[in-house]
């Protein structure tokens, strides 16, 4: 039983990170029907921005987190402006291939400038572990931080989407881009805002992973990006609560698979879930709620 609780803690920590990245996938898909495969690499750049903020600018955790989120928000806008906006009316497949191209571009440019070696993330705050059940279950303050930051950011996102003007515009554009434009909504800037928000969340995930695993490297976005994509599809792509739930379910499933099966099956299980969902319920777990997407 104690082992099960520990596995749940492990799963929730990783799952929160998947959820944060998955939100970016889901928001961008919701608004322009694009699977932005470069999203995992924005997360990687977020981690490096966090590394730079702590090592060079000597920032503490929260400023570093904000710094990295701002950097990636700007980056997200630039990527959208340069790579996707010129193709706004091109066939979907063209934009998808462009996204893959952008992904490789970000990965290998980072590798060119920073080298392929992993960098150790500095210990931003002192680590404290709390033990329960006679040391059988431990939870560290970093795990708590991950979950707390994730929850705070998600509440913030829900607030932005439902209670602000830009959120209203995002919802309108996702319903019907043409109609929204006719109603006087600036579609381009709304899409930019969506990319900025999604990228900022991915950056936060990057910094959290840096703190949690204290290792960042240029190709770290590939696996986490794919897992986040699976989470988004699992919850129902285009649906914000779906991305959160999908991330948590995937994280916990993975933890239980490695804990009670074999860790070699962990990655295959994630992709089996993707295939099953696509076969059985392509719209995802929350898929009925089609009209509420962003």
């Amino acid at each position: 039983m104690t082992e099960f609780i520990q596995q749940l803690i492990n799963g929730i920590s990783v799952g929160s990170i998947y959820a944060l990245i998955a939100l970016g996938y889901t928001m961008v898909y919701g608004i322009i029907k694009l699977i932005n495969f470069a999203h995992g690499d924005v997360y990687m750049l977020g981690a490096f921005a966090g590394l730079y903020a702590t090592l060079v600018l000597k920032m503490s955790f929260v400023p570093a987190l904000l710094f990295s989120m701002i950097v990636c928000a700007i980056l997200g806008i630039i990527i959208e402006r340069l790579a996707y906006r010129p193709l706004r009316n091109a066939p979907k497949i063209v934009i998808l291939i462009t996204a893959i191209g952008v992904s490789f571009f970000l990965e290998y440019t980072t590798m060119y400038f920073l080298g392929p070696q992993p960098r150790a993330f500095p210990a931003i705050f002192k680590e404290v572990s709390y033990s329960f059940f006679g040391g059988k279950v431990t939870i560290s303050n970093r795990e708590i931080t991950i979950v707390v930051v994730t929850i705070v950011l998600m509440i913030l996102l829900q607030y932005i989407v439902h209670n602000t003007k830009i959120g209203k515009a995002m919802r309108a554009v996702s319903y019907d881009m043409q109609a929204a434009r006719l109603m006087g909504i600036n579609v381009d800037s709304t899409i930019s805002a969506t990319f900025a928000l999604g990228s900022a969340l991915a950056a936060a995930a990057g910094v959290l992973v840096g703190v949690y695993y204290n290792k960042v490297f240029p190709l770290m976005g590939i696996m986490f990006g794919l897992k986040a994509f699976v989470s988004a599809v699992l919850g129902g792509i285009g649906i914000i609560p779906g991305a959160m739930t999908g991330g948590l379910i995937l994280g916990i499933t993975e933890a239980l698979v490695s804990g009670y099966g074999s860790s070699l099956y962990r990655d295959p299980v994630a992709f089996v879930i993707l295939i099953l969902i696509l076969l059985v319920k392509p719209s995802g777990l929350f898929g009925k709620n089609v009209r509420e997407k962003v």
Binding site: K215, S258, G259, S263, D267
Partner: protein, 389 residues
């Protein structure tokens, strides 16, 4: 129709021509240098192994060239980065052999990368000498049981390393229940784990579980939680520093405080960076040498290395250095720097005075030499014991 047919023929002819010229292109090699290839992990997930190895190689080459070279010629190292990737290592080997026309290849540091091009070297009849590929299959084909003619190494092999650690745990640490956590994607890790398990069981120990991970993994908490539930007294993690660093760190975070251990794949300054000094306490590794050994030969090497690179030489630097010594000794005895002659001479390598040991190669092309057991204390390696073969 006719026109397009002609075009096709023209294209085919032209491509043959290009192939032919490129194949014969680099035929002439300057005769005043001896070209030796280096196929090393200069980037990628075991990059520090290759970089240290190269430092050792270059230090030795510089000394030999300064002393007049071999057979009146200077040695020239043609080095390429294999990115710690099997496919890349194979293509680098092909390039070294067919384009650069090297007389021998030094590398690679890991068993997996070396194994990816042993057949290429065999077919092209160019000797390969690895400083640190410890998997037995590197020099002996496991399918036929025959020794690979052109493949050599200047290090001990995994059965020795795995067995030495098993005995050390049982006899010195007096621990009887162990768990193995290995990198299922690295022949090195799988090999070490196998020999550790064998020796541990044969000498009265008990293996509680044999767990796996892959070199892409970042999160080991789930499998470590499972291991924690088994209450082992010792955890053997025969992987490479990058994952091992995270495993040790995450294990300590989960409250697993038992001793852990591994092989020479741990030996990297990055290990301490990733795992942290305190979590590494109470961990033990088997290694080729220690810069703390009192031997004057070792201390002399440490001094020279520090002067040139400004850091403590790790074991990979030492084996890289030794590999050049063994190769140059062979070239000297061969009297002629051709792949065939060098291979023949390597076979009879005897008592070459290296930094890590006095090196002789046995009938399986493996170095016969001892190993050291090191313990990490506050992020520093401390010398624990020397084990003879």
């Amino acid at each position: 129709m006719r026109k397009s047919f002609l075009t096709v023929i023209a294209v085919v002819l032209l491509s043959f021509l290009l192939l032919f010229t490129s194949a014969c292109g680099n035929k002439s090699s300057t005769s005043d240098t001896i070209k030796i290839g280096a196929n090393l992990e200069l980037s990628g997930n075991v990059a520090t192994l290759g970089q240290s190895g190269l430092n050792g190689v270059m230090l030795a080459v510089e000394e030999i060239n300064a002393a007049g070279g071999v057979l009146g010629k200077k040695i020239e190292i043609v080095k390429y980065d294999n990115k710690s990737d099997n496919t890349e290592a194979a293509s680098v080997a092909t390039r070294l052999i067919t384009q650069d026309k090297v007389v021998a290849i030094i590398g690679s540091m890991t068993s997996g990368n070396t194994l990816s091009y042993v057949n290429i070297a065999e077919t092209n009849k160019v000797p390969v000498i690895s400083p640190s590929a410890t998997n037995p299959d590197v020099t002996v084909d496991p399918k036929t049981g025959k020794v690979r003619e052109y493949i050599f190494r200047t290090c001990f092999i995994d059965p020795f390393q795995g067995t030495a650690m098993a005995k050390f745990v049982l006899n010195e640490l007096k621990l009887k229940k162990a768990v193995v956590l290995k990198d299922n994607t690295a022949p090195y890790s799988v090999g070490l784990a196998k020999f550790f398990v064998e020796a541990f069981k044969n000498n009265g120990g008990e293996i509680l579980a044999d767990e796996n991970y892959t070199s892409n993994d970042q999160d080991f908490r789930s499998v470590l939680t499972k291991i924690k539930g088994l209450n082992p007294e010792f955890i053997y993690v025969p992987g490479y520093y990058e994952q091992v660093g995270q495993i040790v760190k995450q294990a300590r975070e989960l409250g697993i405080n038992v001793p852990m251990g591994g092989g020479d794949g741990w030996d990297s300054p990055k290990l301490v960076e990733i795992a942290g000094a305190a979590p590494l306490n109470n961990t033990f590794i088997t290694n080729h040498y220690s810069s703390l050994m009192p031997d004057p030969k070792v201390q002399d090497f440490v001094k020279k290395y520090k002067e040139k690179y400004g850091s403590e030489p790790d074991a990979m630097a030492a084996v890289g250095y030794d590999t050049v010594l063994v190769l140059v000794d062979a070239i000297k005895r061969a009297g002629e720097a051709t792949p065939e002659k060098i291979k023949e001479a390597l076979k009879t390598t005897k008592d070459v005075e290296g930094v890590t040991a006095k090196i002789s190669l046995d009938e399986n092309h493996n170095a016969v030499k001892g190993l050291v057991i090191l313990e990490y204390k506050d992020g520093k390696q401390t010398y624990k014991a020397y084990v003879n073969p």
